[in-house]
Each structure stands twice: as C-alpha cells, then as structure tokens.
Symmetry: C2
Subunit: 405 residues, 2 copies
C-alpha cells in the first residue's frame, strides 16, 4: 500500500467555460486511488491557501460534481494574486499543516510560476510534495501547448458572436467593430474568422496584438472594405498597440485610463477601445452608422457555450495530472500536444518551460498585411471548435426584374 | 378558383434570432395555396419596396428556406426608414406595378404603422390589397400581445449571459454592471432575473426604464449588496432616465453624446453607459474592482441561442398571417394571446391597436423599490425561455477546519 496521500486543488486567474472540468477531472481521478485520504479545494486560489480557506471536496457527491463540471467559471473561486517567494513560503506552511502531499493548480502562466516556486521551496525544505500545474486560459498563450483548455470554448463564443454580428451588419449595413480579449496573444480574436461562410461574410478585417496597429492603415482598410461591400465587420484584440508598445486604448483616450498595480491599462470591463475606434471611423471616414461592441466577460463565462472537444480535454488534463503525480511521482505542467488531424497526447513538461512565459501566434497564422489570418490558422482552429456548431444560411434567391413605376 | 395572388414580404427594424422563422412561415404557408403565383421579398424592408429591389422567393428550395429560418438576423435585410404618407404612396405604386395582392411586413410598432398607412392608401385608391403586420421585436413592447416573437430568444441570451457573469463575479468578486437593450420597455433587462438559482445569485439589482433612475439611490443599493455579499451584479436597461426623462447616458457624459435624426441619444453600439456607471461606483463608493459590459448586438443576433418556444411561435405568426390574408381576406396585425399555462392563441387585431404605440412592463412585474422584478414576472417569463436551458451548479462542500500555521 502506498503512503497516505492528501490532495489540494486550486484555480487561479480568469475563469473559463471548462475550468471546472479540470477540477472535477482531478477530484474524480484521485478518488480511484486507495491511498488518497482527503481531497481539499482552496477557495479563491492561492489566497485561500494562505488564508486556510479550504473546502473538503471528498464530501461532494459524484453526481453534483458532474453538474459543477458542466458549469462555467471557477467553482472554487479565483484570485489575481501573483505570489512572491514569501507568499509561496506561507502557502507551503499551510500545505504542511494540513499534511498535503499533492498540490494541483489550474491556471495560466502566472499560476505555473507559483507552482514552480512552491515545488522548489518544498524540495529545499525536504518536504515531500508533488506539485502539478494544470493548464487553463482563454488566451491560449501557454508555451509548449498546441492549445490550452478554455480557449476553444471561448473561440466558439467568438465565432458564434461574429457569425450573428455579420448577419446583423448585412441586414442593417454600416461598420461594426468588436473588441475581443487577449492582451498579448491574438488567438481568440483570430477565432472570429471561423464565422465566415460565404465570400462576403465578416469579419472582413482582423487586428491582432502580434502586429503593430497603425490607425491610418486601419482607417484605410475599413474605407476599402466599406467602399467594396457597403459594410464592414472588424475584429480587434483588446491588446492592440502602436510601434512603441503603447496600448491603442490609452493612445486614443482623451481623458485618463485606469491602470492596475503593474501599470497595465485596464482593457477588460470597459467599452472604451471600441468606442474610441468607432469615433475615429466616424470622424475620419464620415461613415454614419458605426457601432462598437466589447465582448467583455461574456466570452469567457457565458452559460451554455462549450466546445465538446474543449470540455473533454479539460477533463483529461485534470485526470492526467493526477496520474502523473500519483503514478509517476513527478512535478511539472501538463501540456497538450497535437499528434494528428485531429488527435492529441498529454505530456508533462518541466514547470520552467511554461512558467511566466507567453506564447503568441505563429507568423504562419497571420497574413502579410497583418489584418487577417491565414488558411493555416483555420486548419489549426477548426478541430478545436467541437461538434454541433450552429450554421448560418443566407438567401440566394434571384432578383425580380424591375418594371418601373 | 380564387383570383391569382402575388405576395410581397419584407422585414423591418432591428433583427432578432427568429425573424427568419416568420419569413419562412409566410413563404412556405403561401406555397400551399394554388392561387399564389409569386412570392417576392423586398430587400431592406420598405426601402427595397420603393427601390424595386425585390427577390423572387418562389425560387428558393424548401430545404434552403429551412436553413435560413434557423439563422438569426433579417435574411432579406432591414431598414430604419419610417415611411411618411408620401413614402407609402411610392410603396403602393411599386406594389401595383408588380400586381402585388398581399403585403406582409414583419416588424415592430413602426412597421405596423407603415402597414396601416399602406392599407389605407390602397383602400382609398380602390386597389385590392391585403396588408398584414407580423409582430417582431426583442423589446417585447407591442400592444395587444402577451409577448412578441424575438423577445424570448433574446431573453434566453440575457439569462445565459447573467448566469455566467454571476459565476464569474463570484469567482473574482467585485461589482459587475451589464447594460441590456430596451429603450422604453424593460422586459429584456428584467429577463436577467432568470439567471438566479441560489439565494445569493445575481443579478442582485435590476433597473428598468419603467422607473425613474436616481443615481444616489443606485449607489446606495450597490453599496448595501456589496457590504452584504462582498460582490454585486447589476442589470441595467440602456433606457434608464431621470425624472425629467433625460437619459442617464447623456446626463453622466462629460463630453457629447451621439443623437439620431429624431434627437434620441444613441444607446446601442457604445459602451458609454456601463462605463459611466462604473466610474460613479468607483468614485463614490471606493470599490476597486468594478467592471462593465454592454451586451450590444450579441443579445439580438448571437448565432445558436434560440428559445424553441420562440422559434415555433415566430413560425406560427407567419403561417397564421397568410391564413388571415388568404382565407379570411382581412387586414390587421397578428398577435399572441396567452390562454393557459402555457398555451397561446393567435389572433388578428386592428392595425390601429398596435401601430406606433409602446407597451411597457405592468406595475405588477416590478418590485416596490423599483430595483427588481416580482414573482409574477418570473411566472410570465419562464414558459417563454424554452426547453434545454443550461443549468449552473455551484460547489456545496463543507469547509475544512483550520489548524493554524
């Protein structure tokens, strides 16, 4: 019989539609092992660890856990805390006090860095802890992963939103600009391209944070599409910036912009960027009907918009994390690798490979003009969106000859 | 054999998720009648009529029409034109030139007024025209209707959006304000209440255009909820206004606001109101994490968010419109009446009963404080949202006793 095990799981960073699949994957997989005495969950991520704010997940029924798995947004609660060394030492003290042997942290690159520090400190202290990072982010920006759980469901939302917005814009023509999440990586904004069915379908222009945004170039692009089609649908990443790296949101703002503790301009939870771009189009191009939307929190939390592929893989990374920890006795970060079209393998990569790093879109995924994606990106994206994608169809009836009045 | 019939159908005003069900209901029902020689569709509503921009829907396959029916946003295109007498006379001239015997206009109260004028002018001219208004609006504000096709699917979107936003806000606490469409009627904003499952679920506050919005009262409400729960989710109608009727969006704006030709402040296609309310909360209450979303065009056009009840009824009002026109030889506006829990009947009401009028929420649907809905509204709403509504479930695990570190 292996030594008794006590598991702690936590969720960090922005919620996703499938982050609870990973949570439940960890809990239900861990229940299969006789040596696991307790499975705890920390409320609000690492903050719940240092505050000893823990739930006993051993006492959740399997049926209820399955319902939670199908619910968006971090069921344990999340946090934006980015622990430093001192914070991680406090965490380790709590883990030891509760005799935790295995720590699983579901999150993005900041979370993986936390796991790395905690694992290092445990090793230095001679405390036998296994620490595993379980990948999650709608931004899809984790190194060493083909894609990250949470991205595909958000991408599906963006696709469905743009498919509808394109039809709305075709019905009542004008310019429509929608701002999509993703401060450094443009994957989610790029997913808007999946909305296209016919040759004139939008989004007609896509602007990503991987390229410098030039307002004059943007206006010329919009003008050209509007002249050709009488309308224009534009997808813009919240993270677009000028050549110096300054966010367009702060560059265009006449008044002040909100900055967080790290000096970053607040990009989400405000409609400012969309409104500023719309004002530019109205002022400089003289187009009357210009409308802007900001997808905001809907794209990561909307109830009932999930890619089944994403849900399955999110469950699997949780299950596999437990297997790596309990059967292989290893630390690391679970990663998804694509092995076929479409097939994946789940591997364990060193925490250093993913911690505090950011992956951005490959050059091969962005067109030369920097205002659209390539067919290679569509090949990459399509299998992730899952089954049962809703389909749009437009009338193709012939015109009635005019008789004159 | 009845006299030969030629049908013209058009779509006006804002698109909905099910407006094409009504279009296809009209087209497929009309095909059942041997006297119907042609079924035309006008592109972009009444504008397509005066421009003789017509499609021959007789030449669409049934299979393709069924796909269009399941697609959001006006497939024929829409318009914001509000025809005056001269405009309606031009329309009648085109109808006569194409020997149109039956005109169906799918739209809101402005559209019904157009149908009324066209019908009057035809009668005055002795031209044998049957003109039927087919109801459509996400605002749910047509007189004489229990509810209007398009509302329930938009309500379902709002419910799913708030259910997710509530979970997101529970995971990362703060204040969340989302602005919902509806300039004069609060039905769609009120539908956010359907997102609640547990006692602490948001939206915790709901502000409707049927009540005067007082900023101090609003701030006190938010403060009280935030003090009690550590978080607060707020649903706000884009049409909230002060006691004088001035839109809060223009009242709070420091700079200028956009107005349309009628002097109305632009409410949709901008995130300004949400941002202004968030600024008030940050400035006056000192709460740090305050986020605002504006649901914008997503709530009326999102691909793949449909109430099956709404889709069925939208199809039926189209079918019934053709029956009224061809079998009863009547003009009027099709209306939905609730006859049971849940059952409806479709009636034909006089165009005057609905034309250019606006229905708002009953007092019985709004709580005394004017910041929430009543159980009576929930009884009214629930059957409309349709089957297969996604369900959210939250953890209910017990806390782990603290051991101290």
């Amino acid at each position: 019989m292996p030594a008794p095990a006590r598991i702690l799981v936590a969720q960090g960073g922005g919620p996703t539609a499938v982050i609870n699949q990973s949570l439940v994957g960890i809990v239900l997989e861990a229940r299969r092992y006789g040596q696991v005495e307790r499975i705890y969950g920390a409320r609000h991520g690492v903050r719940g660890v240092i505050n000893e704010d823990l739930l006993d997940l051993t006492q959740e029924t399997t049926e209820h856990l399955e319902r939670v798995a199908a619910t968006p947004a971090s069921a344990l609660g999340s946090t934006r805390d980015k622990p430093d060394l001192e914070y991680c030492r406090k965490m380790l003290a709590v883990l030891r006090a509760h005799a935790i042997t295995h720590f699983f942290y579901i999150g993005g690159n900041d979370s993986s860095d936390t796991v790395r520090i905690v694992a290092d400190e445990a090793a230095k202290a001679g405390y036998p802890l296994r620490a595993i990072h379980v990948p999650k982010t709608i931004d899809n920006d984790l190194m060493g992963n083909d894609h990250v759980p949470g991205f595909a469901s958000a991408a599906r939302f963006v696709m469905q939103a743009f498919a509808g917005a394109n039809l709305d814009n075709a019905a009542l023509p004008g310019v429509y600009v929608a701002v999509v999440m993703g401060r450094h990586a443009g994957f989610l904004t790029a997913a808007s391209a999946a909305a296209r069915v016919g040759p004139d379908d939008g989004p007609h222009l896509i602007y990503l944070p991987e390229r410098t945004f030039e307002i004059e170039r943007f206006l010329a692009d919009v003008k050209a599409v509007h002249a050709r089609l009488g309308r224009c649908v534009v997808a813009v990443s919240e993270g677009i910036h000028d050549a110096s790296g300054e966010a367009i949101a702060s560059k265009l703002a006449k008044g002040g912009v909100e900055r967080d503790a790290h000096g970053n301009v607040q990009l989400s939870g405000t409609g400012a960027l969309a409104d500023l771009l719309c004002d530019e189009i109205k002022d400089k191009l003289g187009i009357k009907r210009v409308r802007g939307d900001t997808f905001g929190y809907l794209q990561r939390s909307f109830l009932g918009c999930v890619s089944d592929v994403d849900a399955r893989e999110a469950r699997e990374v949780g299950q596999r994390a437990v297997q790596f920890a309990l059967l292989r006795d290893a630390n690391g970060s679970v990663a998804i690798r694509r092995t076929g079209d479409y097939a994946v393998d789940l591997v364990l990569q060193p925490l250093e490979a993913v911690a505090a790093k950011t992956r951005v879109m490959d050059d091969a995924f962005i067109n030369a003009a920097g205002n659209d994606v390539t067919p290679a990106f569509m090949d990459y994206l399509r299998p992730l969106l899952g089954s049962g994608l809703p389909q749009a169809a437009r009338l193709r009836a012939v015109s009635v000859p005019k008789v004159g009045t």
